[in-house]
């Protein structure tokens, strides 16, 4: 493993793309940053712009309007980038999968590296997903 990819695994900066989310996943993501779970131990940070991001975290169901935006955000990211589909809506579409405006689960739009299912996923599930991502 090269020095670059070692450093990459040690400092993942997360950009959070909220689709048509019900905000429950967003709150669970904030739980991970707080003192009980603290993902900064692994060098992870939430960043505000996709240009600094190493992980694109997609939560919420992707509707038809979001689809083009998600693809645009993915194309704006500096490579290499990891994509995480977050929550039941991100992974499969959840209860919105048969809806009229549903635009497809995340992996039909962009390549996905890790799935974290749950509605919403517990912080422990998020940490397990992170560990899988780091060992990838």
């Amino acid at each position: 493993m090269s020095l670059g990819s070692y450093c990459f695994r040690k400092s993942l900066w997360v950009f959070h793309f909220g689709g048509a989310s019900c905000n429950n996943c967003d709150i669970e993501i904030l739980d991970c940053l707080t003192s009980r779970y603290d993902i900064e131990r692994f060098g992870m940070q939430l960043v505000g712009t996709i240009r600094h991001a190493d992980v694109l975290l997609v939560s919420g169901s992707i509707n038809r309007k979001c689809r083009a935006r998600l693809l645009k955000v993915y194309n704006q990211a500096p490579k290499p980038i990891l994509v995480v589909a977050f929550g039941a809506c991100g992974c499969t579409g959840g209860i919105f999968a048969e809806g009229n405006v549903f635009g497809g689960p995340v992996d039909t739009i962009i390549p996905v590296d890790a799935y974290i299912p749950g509605c919403p996923p517990k912080p422990e599930a998020i940490l397990a997903g992170i560990v899988k991502l780091l060992n990838k």
Partner: protein, 309 residues
């Protein structure tokens, strides 16, 4: 020539100051984590960040001045390093430096902020130009305070403009912080450092929740790594400037090293605690803070130092 290159590139220049700045940045994040009852990042985290950013792709703006966009971080890094060398050399080799290097350091410390502004305006992003305009207003508000504080230090050291003379004056008559005007200056320069480093009460130029990192929004990969290095160097340079001007400078002999580290850590602790216990100010609040209150304190300190208090 080779000696000068060694000073600039290795010690006390680029490599040493990036290492020190990285360690200070780690302690800043660790203290923040402990304040929030978290565990905090591992020790090498700042260096992992830089390594990772060099590994990533650098994206150039499509509708922007690409050369300016890439040159601005380099200017920031070099001027921060040069300021660091000019500040540290008189402490390491007493009597080195030249007449008026205090003014050179003052200008060199402004160049990083200016080059962030130029780089962000060159990126052609509307949020970046918003951040740049905020940064310009912030510079306008704190530079007057900073130069008043430096003028007060010049008066206290018997009208000398060279950093080595200021250190010598403190070694003869005791550190400047031991007087009333010195304490006032300490407060003023602490807030100026906070604004120059764009830490939380004064981070409106890169407010990540409102304008998504503002001036740095378009930077990615190696260009952002160079900006990070420049910011680490500034995090080391500004406290060491404060130590040099008010606390008698560094000393590299025996227990002097421990004493220098203690001074550095105390300044960093104060900066971090201010950062963690304050919300982000609005721009007009920050300008009022510097224009009225900090300038008032600096002028009072000048008055007190003229009557030798």
């Amino acid at each position: 020539m080779i000696k000068d290159l060694f000073y600039f590139l290795i010690f006390p220049g680029m490599i040493f100051s990036v290492l020190m700045g990285g360690i200070l940045s780690w302690s800043d994040r660790k203290i923040t984590a402990r304040v929030q009852f978290r565990k905090g990042p591992p020790f090498l985290q700042p260096f992992y960040d830089i390594g990772k950013l060099f590994y990533k792709e650098t994206i150039l703006p499509e509708h922007g001045a690409r050369l300016t966009f890439l040159a601005a971080p380099v200017f920031a890094l070099f001027s921060a390093t040069l300021a660091n060398v000019f500040i540290l050399l008189p402490s390491i080799f007493p009597g080195s430096g030249f007449k008026g290097d205090l003014i050179v350091v003052f200008y060199l410390l402004t160049i990083p902020s200016l080059s962030y502004i130029i780089g962000s305006l060159a990126s052609g992003n509307p949020l970046a130009s918003l951040g740049a305009s905020r940064e310009i207003k912030l510079i306008m508000s704190y530079e007057l305070t900073f130069i008043l504080a430096l003028a007060c230090i010049v008066i206290k050291s018997g009208m000398s403009l060279s950093i080595s003379d200021i250190i010598a004056a403190q070694q003869e008559g005791g550190a400047f912080i031991g007087s009333v005007s010195g304490v006032l200056l300490f407060i003023v320069i602490l807030f100026v450092i906070q604004a120059k480093l764009a830490l939380v009460p004064f981070d409106m130029s890169e407010a990540e929740t409102e304008i998504a990192h503002g001036v740095f929004i378009e930077y990615s990969g190696s260009a952002y790594a160079i900006i990070k290095m420049a910011r680490y160097i500034m995090l080391f340079t500004l406290p060491s400037l404060m130590m040099t001007l008010l606390m008698g400078g560094f000393s590299l002999s025996g227990f002097g090293i421990l004493w220098s580290i203690l001074k550095l850590v105390v300044i960093l602790l104060l900066i971090t605690l201010i950062r963690n216990t304050n919300p982000r100010l609005r721009l007009d609040q920050a300008m009022r803070f510097f224009f009225i209150w900090m300038n008032l304190i600096a002028v009072i300190a000048i008055g007190l130092s003229i009557i030798k208090l």
